[in-house]
């Protein structure tokens, strides 16, 4: 630690007012506070300080994301070798996946942080840590076959239009990572739907197995829900899908950390599950009895295991910036996400993955939910007085 501290201290004067690299101060400041907890003291007002600043909070989310990332890497390899009917070791699966996933992660971080630094320097504000999470979320919700330039384009789009244009972290109203996915989804549908979920780089000497189908469980679900993999398979995540979202188990590990540290709101996660379960049960009741494999017959708990529901509920819906801010509002917000997810999955064959759009839609509704909750509160309080 000592040599790094001295290095930072010797470089510091150049970046301060009047120094040679004064313009680059935000970039320097970002690096310094990333390495060391800043030693600022408050001058007036409230003097309560907590070690849990924004950087530490964001870092907790990154740690919570690692199970899904590691599992995703393994699963990319597993799906690949599975498609060619090859039995390979755990390490081989993992290495193949890492080779495919790491470039996407690197591009997402490099491009997004680049944009972030440019904006910070031009507008003279500090580089915020929000992108550390966004940059990790983007690769995890994309198919592994996505071209790298699209990852870069989406990172630019979501950083500029989703965040920086509103003034940076904490000032936006939509989850930037979801915006990136929605952007790619509507702009390049051919790369985001269909046969894109498994990396099919040819393996010399092996042909695709006969029973291979690259469809995700959600596509199977729309035509005949009984074709879906078993609930356990979906829970562990041994299925095709976006890189990091297949395993409900890995998301649960992350959820434990987020809830334990208080970084993610447990109310939102629980409310999402309740909403989806409730709507799923309602669908079961309303389902046409004469079509036995209609999507409406899907058991309600399947909706919690299918596709990216767990990932969305744990990492996306709990984004403290774009979610509802009031405590009662969080319940409403979460329940509506669950309800809309099931509605979109069942009734909208064009978009089998309802979670992303349901959360984006609720990001739009969140300010109104908060407003109604606050107004209601004022009304009841003034009645009591």
């Amino acid at each position: 630690m000592k040599p790094i501290r001295t290095l930072v201290d010797t470089a510091k004067p150049h970046f301060h007012k009047g120094g040679r690299f004064e313009k680059l101060h935000p970039a320097f400041d970002a690096l310094e506070t990333f390495l060391f907890v800043p030693g600022h003291t408050t001058h007036n007002g409230v003097h309560i300080r907590d070690a849990m600043d924004l950087k530490r909070a964001m870092f907790t989310v990154i740690v919570a994301l690692t199970p899904t990332l590691l599992f995703g890497m393994w699963n990319v390899g597993y799906q690949h070798y599975q498609a060619y009917g090859m039995q390979v070791s755990f390490v081989d699966n993992f290495l193949f996946g890492a080779q495919r996933v790491l470039p996407i992660v690197i591009v997402s971080y490099a491009v997004g942080l680049g944009v972030e630094f440019i904006f910070a320097i031009l507008r003279g504000h500090q580089v915020s840590e929000g992108y550390l999470v966004t940059g990790m979320l983007i690769p995890l919700i994309l198919p592994v076959t996505i071209p790298l330039w699209m990852v870069g384009l989406a990172a630019i789009f979501c950083t500029v239009l989703g965040k920086e244009i509103f003034g940076g972290t904490g000032m936006n109203f939509m989850n930037p990572a979801l915006l990136a996915r929605a952007f790619l989804f509507f702009a390049f549908p051919a790369y985001m739907t269909g046969d894109v979920w498994v990396d099919l780089t040819p393996e010399p000497g092996h042909a695709l197995v006969d029973a291979y189908s690259g469809a995700t469980s959600l596509v199977a679900f729309d035509t005949n829900w009984t074709d879906m993999p078993s609930a356990w398979r979906q829970f562990w995540g041994f299925e095709a899908g976006s890189i990091g979202e297949t395993s409900t188990f890995a998301c649960l590990l992350g959820a434990l950390l987020l809830i334990g540290t208080g970084v993610g709101s447990w109310k939102i996660i629980v409310a999402c599950c309740l909403g989806a379960l409730g709507m799923g049960l309602l669908m079961n009741v309303l389902a046409p009895a004469d079509i036995a494999n209609h999507a409406m017959h899907t058991p309600a708990y399947y909706h919690l295991l299918m596709g990216g529901f767990a990932f969305g509920a744990v990492y996306m819906a709990t984004d403290p910036v774009s979610a509802a801010h009031t405590e009662r509002g969080k319940w409403i917000y979460g329940i509506l996400i669950g309800v809309f997810t099931v509605v979109l999955r069942v009734f909208n064959p064009a978009y089998p993955e309802g979670v992303m759009l349901a959360i984006l839609l609720m990001n739009v509704f969140a300010p109104l939910i908060d407003h109604v909750v606050v107004e209601q509160h004022i009304k009841t309080r003034s009645k009591r007085a």
Binding site: I165, M174, F186, Y351, L357, P367, L368
Partner: protein, 204 residues
């Protein structure tokens, strides 16, 4: 009955006048700074839509359409006055808006003051004329027209209140100078439209 519910839901979410057709953008962007005024304008638009679209339906079907005048005299059965649709639709809307304006001024003077020029401007709000024209183009029945106009009105109301809520939340955000006000409102509208795209393709 099922068909009517279908039309209502479609008009609110799937074919929202703002996010699917970009109609009525002027008042949508201009009167969405505060939830209270947006709420008032939204209600006024619902009222005018529900009043004028069925009225225009009657005008179209008993005065303007081909053979619509046959109820007066059989010899008029060959008359087609459809080319007058625009001007008569607009006149009905103007009349209804006049009604709204007078009652708002009388009963809610505060809202009247804060809406300002945008209350009379509902007359030329394209979402209202658009709703009447959709009614004509899609050949709805009277019941369908009534439900559709209510749905379209609620769709506009929902859109403008949502935008106002977002803009109230973003009051403390640090938007670059050239984009403040209208610029950022348009970007927000586009992002909201992206979220509303989730409904496109729903088959009811």
């Amino acid at each position: 009955m099922y068909e009517l519910i279908n039309i209502f839901i479609r008009a609110i979410f799937i074919e929202n006048v703002i996010f699917a057709f970009f109609l009525g953008m002027c008042s949508f962007l201009a009167v969405s700074k505060k939830i209270k005024t947006a709420f008032g304008l939204g209600l006024a638009v619902i009222f005018v839509m529900v009043l004028t679209t069925p009225l225009n339906y009657l005008i179209l079907n008993y005065m303007l359409g081909e053979g619509a005048l046959a109820w007066i005299h059989p010899s008029l059965a060959s008359v087609d006055l459809t080319f007058l649709a625009f001007i008569l639709f607009i006149s009905t809307i103007a009349g209804a808006v006049q009604l709204v304006e007078m009652s708002v001024e009388k009963f809610v003077p505060a809202l009247y003051a804060s809406l300002g020029i945008f209350l009379p401007l509902i007359t030329v709000n394209c979402s209202i004329l658009g709703t009447s024209l959709f009614m004509q183009e899609r050949q709805y029945t009277f019941a369908e027209t009534a439900v559709f106009s209510l749905g379209a009105g609620v769709g506009f109301f929902l859109a403008i209140v949502l935008l106002a809520a977002i803009r109230e939340r973003l009051r403390y955000s640090n938007v670059p100078q050239p984009l403040q006000g209208l610029g950022i409102a348009m970007i927000i509208t586009a992002l909201m439209g992206l979220a509303f795209l989730s409904f496109s393709g729903i088959k009811l």
